[in-house]
Structures are given as structure tokens and as C-alpha cells.
């Protein structure tokens, strides 16, 4: 507090020196004071929370890391020594590792599963990385090429065998099937033409090119595939993490388009379309997944014509895919509703038709704002794949369940270790997805703030 010497007045005419904040407000002490000890109630809370943390965290660390058994070849390693039980039996996980990942898949075919993991990772990165180059190609890779490749890789069957069906038409057998597939391939050609903005005769040319070209491709590919000679692996031999990822992947790939269609149907002005969409969505969302799986498992074979044998895994896939698409439909619908009406009106004023409007104006915006919720639905789907063990599919959790009761590793800590490992794996996948959702949400909110 100084004042100028030349003036008699007690007026301070130079700024007071800025004092440092009190020592108790800055640094570690200040942080502790504001965050942990600001009031008596807060102090009490801190003490309670510290006790809880003190009780939980060292226990976890001891069990999972410091007291854990890392090496050993059988249960002996994980039994109590001198009356003291060791921690997690990681030696057991190490020993049963391949079983938990590949199930009963033949050992010489592990490279096929590994390639599946690699391709999946590439497709996923391409889709999730928002600035990746050529994401339109990525979408085709993810939705068409990847599923077919993976099916061929894992099952050993020619994944595009259906492309040669139209050739039966020339031979005059299987006419109905061949006819349907001819029309479908033709329509694929027309559709590609439409995306490239053709109309009238040009579209028909595209259709013919699609039909002939795809059939020829299928023919050549079948020859190549036969020459390649991948051994066939029955889905009953698929198991472990691989099945979980296959099911989750199919669910993820199938549920979004189906969900979009259902959401559009629910908001459609056509009463019949709306009725069926609402019925389906409300029905599926009203019942537990397990009953849907039971239905797919026990009722689907009944509905099929005599002799048609639906693969057990396929039944489960149908169940999970339908279930997830109903939830996806509600998420997409929320996104559609969030769009201002002007977007629809503007698109219509531009003279766009319904599908053009949806494809070019509405869905890109609606899906963008729903990405976090879509990912949340995927997290739910990923966790729900564990229910497959109830209907007898050999998924990751089932592999853990089978491994943990193996007499070779029977020890008191085997079960907790198996569950801990499963929890860590599921957590990594789900937390990864959740973090991605949060990241996109932040990114989108930046765009909205301007």
C-alpha cells in the first residue's frame, strides 16, 4: 500500500500489487481443499469413499496382478500354498487361450480366423475413421465384400455361389430360383445405374450388364474357388471369441439398414407400411431377447418347408439381427424426428422423389446426429451376443464357461479368473465403442456451436 510522495492526498494512484492467491487455495493443498475437504459433510464423504477405495483397489490389484499365478501347466500351480490362496490363475487363461478365441475350429485353419479378424479391423477402421479416404468404397467393402469374404473364409463354402443361379435358366432346371435371382441381379444393375443418375433405356442397359456381368463373374469365381480348395468347416465347430465377433458383426451390419427401413416405415404416410413397422418394432421391443432367441431356435424350423434345415447359428443370427434392428429403428426414428420440417419441405420443393430426398437430404443429416446412439445400440448388441450360450451356441462366454470347469484346471480361483478375463475382453470392446461415441459426439457438437 504505497502512495505517491509528491501528493498529500491519501489517494492511491498506482495499482495495488497483485498478491498471490492464499497458499491454501493453490497447488496440491488447494486442490485437496476444494475437491475433497471443502466442508464437514464433504470430509465425511471423502473418508467413506477413501475407505471404500482402500478396501476395493488393493484387493483388485492383488488378485489380478501381484498375487496372480502367471506360469504353470495345470491346477497344481493355482492351488493354495501354505494355506494361502494365490490370486488370479492367469496360467489357466494362457493355457486355454486358443480355445477361448477359436473354439473347436481346426488348428490348421486358424489363419482363416486371423485373416477374418484382420479384415474386420480394416473395415471397421475405414468406417469409423471419419476422415478416411474413399469412405463410400469403405461402405461397400464393409457391407458387401467383407461379409461375403468372411463367410467364404470361415465356412469354406463359395460365398457367391448364388451368382451362377441364372445359368440354370439356360439349362432349364430350378426355373423358379433361377428366375428370382436373374431378376435380382438385373435390379442390382439398374440400382447401380440409378445411383449414377441414368434413366430409361440406359438403366435397362445397366440391368443387362449387371445380370450378365455378375453371372459371368460368379462362374469364373466358382472355378477359382474350387481350385483354391479351402476345407469346409461346419458352423458347429465355430466357437469362442470368433463366434461372438461374427454374430456381433452380422448384427451390426444387418441392423442398421433394416433399422433405417423400419424407421422410415414407421414414419411413412402409407397406413399399411406404418402398421407393419409399428407392429414389428413394438412387438420385438416388448419381449426379452431370450424369448426371441427361443422363438428363432424352436419355431423357425417349424415354419420352414419340410426338409429345409436351417443352421443353428443362422437361426440365432436371424433372432439377434431382428432384435437389434427394432431397437435401431427407434434410434433412427429419433434422429429423423430431430430434423426440422424445413429440410423435408426444401427437398420436396427441389422436386426430389421420396428415396432421393431420403438418400441425399434426410438420412445423411439424421444419421449424423444419431451416431452416438447408434453406437450405444451396438454396445447393447455386443453385450447381448452373450445370451447365445443359453440357446447352445458356442460363443466367447460359453467357451469361458466350458474352460473354467475343466478338471485339469479345477482350482478355487479358476472361475473368478475366467470371469475376470471375460469381463476384461467385453469391457475393451464396449468401452472402445463408447469412447468412439463420445468422441463423435464432441466433434458434432463443435460443428453445431459454430
Amino acid at each position: 500500500m504505497t502512495s505517491s510522495a509528491s501528493s498529500k492526498a491519501y489517494v492511491q494512484n498506482i495499482p495495488a500489487q497483485v498478491l498471490p492467491p492464499p497458499a491454501s487455495m493453490v497447488g496440491v493443498v488447494g486442490w485437496l481443499r476444494t475437491n475433497l475437504f471443502s466442508s464437514p459433510a464433504n470430509i465425511a464423504l471423502t473418508v467413506v469413499a477413501a475407505l471404500v477405495a482402500w478396501w476395493l483397489i488393493p484387493g483388485f490389484v492383488k488378485f489380478l496382478i501381484t498375487d496372480a499365478v502367471w506360469t504353470g501347466s495345470d491346477r497344481e500351480a493355482c492351488l493354495a500354498k501354505g494355506g494361502v490362496l494365490p490370486g488370479a490363475c492367469w496360467a489357466f487363461v494362457k493355457d486355454r487361450w486358443t480355445f477361448m478365441i477359436y473354439g473347436f475350429f481346426p488348428v490348421e485353419g486358424y489363419w482363416r480366423v486371423n485373416l477374418f479378424f484382420l479384415l474386420g479391423a480394416i473395415g471397421l477402421t475405414w468406417m469409423l475413421w471419419l476422415n478416411a479416404p474413399r469412405r463410400d468404397l469403405g461402405l461397400i467393402f464393409f457391407l458387401v465384400i467383407l461379409p461375403l469374404t468372411v463367410y467364404g473364409l470361415l465356412s469354406g463354402n463359395n460365398p457367391v455361389g448364388f451368382l451362377t443361379y441364372p445359368m440354370d435358366l439356360l439349362a432349364g432346371k430350378n426355373v423358379a430360383m433361377a428366375g428370382i435371382f436373374s431378376v435380382l441381379l438385373f435390379l442390382v444393375g439398374v440400382f447401380v445405374g440409378r445411383i449414377r443418375n441414368t434413366s430409361g433405356k440406359t438403366s435397362l442397359v445397366y440391368g443387362v450388364i449387371g445380370l450378365v456381368g455378375l453371372t459371368a463373374f460368379g462362374f469364373v469365381f466358382a472355378k477359382l474357388w474350387a481350385g483354391f480348395g479351402l476345407s469346409q468347416v461346419d458352423t458347429a465347430k465355430w466357437g469362442g471369441l470368433m463366434v461372438t465377433l461374427v454374430v456381433a458383426g452380422v448384427g451390426i451390419v444387418a441392423s442398421l439398414p433394416l433399422g433405417i427401413l423400419l424407421a422410415l416405415g414407421r414414419r411413412s404416410k402409407l397406413p399399411v407400411v406404418k402398421f407393419f413397422a409399428v407392429m414389428f418394432i413394438e412387438f420385438v421391443r416388448g419381449v426379452p431377447l431370450i424369448t426371441v432367441l427361443f422363438m428363432a431356435n424352436t419355431m423357425l424350423p417349424l415354419f420352414m418347408p419340410d426338409g429345409a434345415n436351417v443352421d443353428k447359428l443362422l437361426r440365432a443370427l436371424v433372432g439377434i439381427g431382428l432384435f437389434a434392428s427394432a431397437y435401431m429403428a427407434e434410434v433412427v426414428r429419433a434422429g429423423l424426428q430431430a430434423l426440422p420440417k424445413g429440410q423435408y419441405e426444401g427437398a420436396m420443393a427441389m422436386g426430389l422423389g421420396y428415396w432421393q430426398m431420403m438418400r441425399l437430404i434426410i438420412l445423411p443429416q439424421a444419421l449424423k446426429v444419431t451416431i452416438p446412439n447408434i453406437v450405444n445400440t451396438y454396445i447393447g448388441l455386443f453385450k447381448d451376443t452373450s445370451l447365445l450360450l443359453i440357446v447352445g451356441i458356442f460363443d466367447f462366454l460359453k467357451a469361458i464357461e466350458t474352460a473354467r470347469i475343466d478338471p485339469q484346471w479345477a482350482a478355487p480361483t479358476t472361475s473368478p479368473t475366467g470371469y475376470a478375463f471375460a469381463a476384461i475382453v467385453y469391457f475393451m470392446f464396449c468401452y472402445g465403442m463408447a469412447s468412439y461415441a463420445r468422441m463423435t459426439e464432441r466433434r458434432l457438437s463443435v460443428a453445431d456451436k459454430r
Binding site: L270, T291, M299, P301
Partner: protein, 401 residues
Amino acid sequence: MSSVDARPGSAASVEKPRVAFWNDPEKRGYIFQAVLLAAVVYFVYSAADNALANLQKQKIASGFGFWNNTAGFDIGQRLIPYETTSTYGRAFWVGLLNTLLVAGVGIFFATILGFIIGIARLSKNWLVQKLATIYVEAIRNTPLLLQLLFWYNAVLKALPEVRDSLAIPGGLFLNTRGLFVPEPSFGPSFSWVLYALGAGILGYFGFSRWAKARQAATGQIAPLGLAALGLIVVFPVLVYFLAGSPLSFSVPELGRFNIRGGVQVYPEFVALVVGLTIYTAAFIAEAVRAGIQAVSKGQTEAAYALGLRPGPTLDLVVIPQAMRVIIPPLTSNYLNLTKNSSLAVAIGYPDLVQVFTGTVLNQTGQALEVVAITMLVYLTISLSTSLFMNWYNARKALVER
């Protein structure tokens, strides 16, 4: 495929241009709907046709005649009398009641835990907030089924045998066969206590209405907390003692090989309640957090500016607005819990799915009927809840200009 949105005034006065019918959205809409309808009808018809043929071939009876047949299996936990000689219909009710029981108990605990965790996530206390966050993230990102299996197989199965039961103060015992709690036995005059409790609650509601009206008219605040304590707690307790303490407990006694007396709470039930509670609480916590954060800070500040103290601010300003946001996700979480209780089948708790879709389906082979009945039950619960929610939302919705 969509019909054109006809604007009033324009469609009527302007003559529609002549277009080919496949280019007329309205006609196209009709054609599309007809095709869809035909496809669905064909699909349903062929499925039903195939199902009938398949059922005949497999010699499986159809219809609901099995409902009154003897079940011939036993159910461990039952709320209503049930024998092996009871009917499948009876087994259905036992399973349904078990589902409702576990859902009710789970909802009760999950709500309490969820609100605590949700508020803790917003705590200014760093440690509390971090612990709550860890809890929510860890629980939400692992499958419920894994958690249930963990609680059942790794925790409850690892409990000591009956001989070495863990004794919990209050006469409780915990061992591999479950939790043994004192069994209450109610004397005949206990009903008086219940009447007193009912009267107390009614009285409290009447009093609070009167108090509210008086506060609105005169500004005088009535001691509601004191009234609640007196009417709902003290009054029934008084009646209890006046009626001669008509409640006694038979405490479980530890024998060499079993436990006599008391009520046995099965380990499957305990595992299911613990698993469902912990799992759903994490989701409820997120709903609570979102609800509280949805009330803008300006509301609190405005309330303070009006001279309200922190307590009434919370009571009258923050909580009513937060609840508007919290209740819809809360109900859907309750519904999820109820539906998730069907995972009981994995740990052998005799709920509706385990009893009916499991055992009854296996014994009768009538998949169509059994799965349909089970789905119908869950659908009824879900749809009635969402009807209630619609009504509630309409009542509580913000009335905007």
C-alpha cells in the same frame, strides 16, 4: 412411394397433371402397399401351413389342452402352493410370480442404488465422483449375463457349506444353500397395525394437501416432516404395542447338516437380485445424472434470487424439473430389468422363462403355444407400462405457448 403431401387450397383448385400411373406417387403408394400386404399374408400363410404340416409329422399336439395336464416336475422356489402333481397352468403362475417377485425386489434396490450413484457422479467430491464413474463404466460395459454367472458361480457357490455358515448379526446365515433369514409370524391382531399404517398414510396425504392449500393462501409453512413421522411411523408403532406386539420371528438355528426354521432365500434368487440391481443401477444412475444436468443452473440461481433457501430450492424447483426428465428413462430401465430377469434361465432361477419356455416346452414340445404365451406376458407388461408412460408424459409435458 410416398403420397404427396397435399396442401389445403392448392390440391383442390389446381387440376392434377396427367402422369403415367407408375409415376404418380399416390397410385404407386397403393401398389406398394398392396404388394407388401400380399407378401406378408403369403409369408404368414406359408409359415402356418409349414408349421401345421411339420407338427403333424412330428406328432406334436397343438392347442392349449396341455394347460391342465399334470406337470410332473418340481419347482424349488414358489410363492403359491405347487406340487409335482400340479398342472402346467399352475407352473405358469408359479413362474410368473417368481418373475414379478425378482423384478419387484430388483427395481426397489436398483432405484435406491441408482439414485445414490447418479448423485455421486455429480458430486463436487473428486474421490466420490471418480468412484461412481468407475462403477458405472465397469458395469455398463460388461454383459449382464457375465455378471450373473459371476455372482452365482464365483461368489455364491464359493460360500462355505452349511456347517461353516457365515453368521450375519440379526440371526441371518449365509451358505451355499442361500441366505437364511428370520421368518416373521404375524399374530391375528397384526391387521390392526396395517390398518393404522394405511390410515396414517391417508392422513398424511390429506394433511399435506391441506398444508399446501394453506401455504398457497397464507404463506404459512406446516411441519410436514414432523407430520409424516407422527402419522406414518409413530402411530402404527403405537398401535402395534397397544395390540400386544403381534409379531414374532422364528430365528434360523444352525444344525450340523442343515438349518432349522427361518426362511430360505435361494442362492439363485440372491444372485439374480444382486446382478440385476447392480447392472440396472448403473443405467439408472446415468438417467438420474442426465436429469439433474438437464435443469439449467439459471433455475437454481433464480430460485436463490427469489429468496428460497437451498432445501426448498431443491424441493420445489430442481427436483420437479429433473423428475420430468428422469421418469421416462427410469421406467424403461424398470422394463429392461423385468425383461432381463429372464436371464434367470442361465443360473436356474425358476422364473417364467425357465419354468415355462424351458421345462414345460421341453416336456410338451409345443413350442408355438409356449413361446407365444411367454411373449404375450412380457408384451402385456411392456405395453401397459408404455401406456402408463404416455399418460404420464401427457400429464407432465411442458405446456408451451
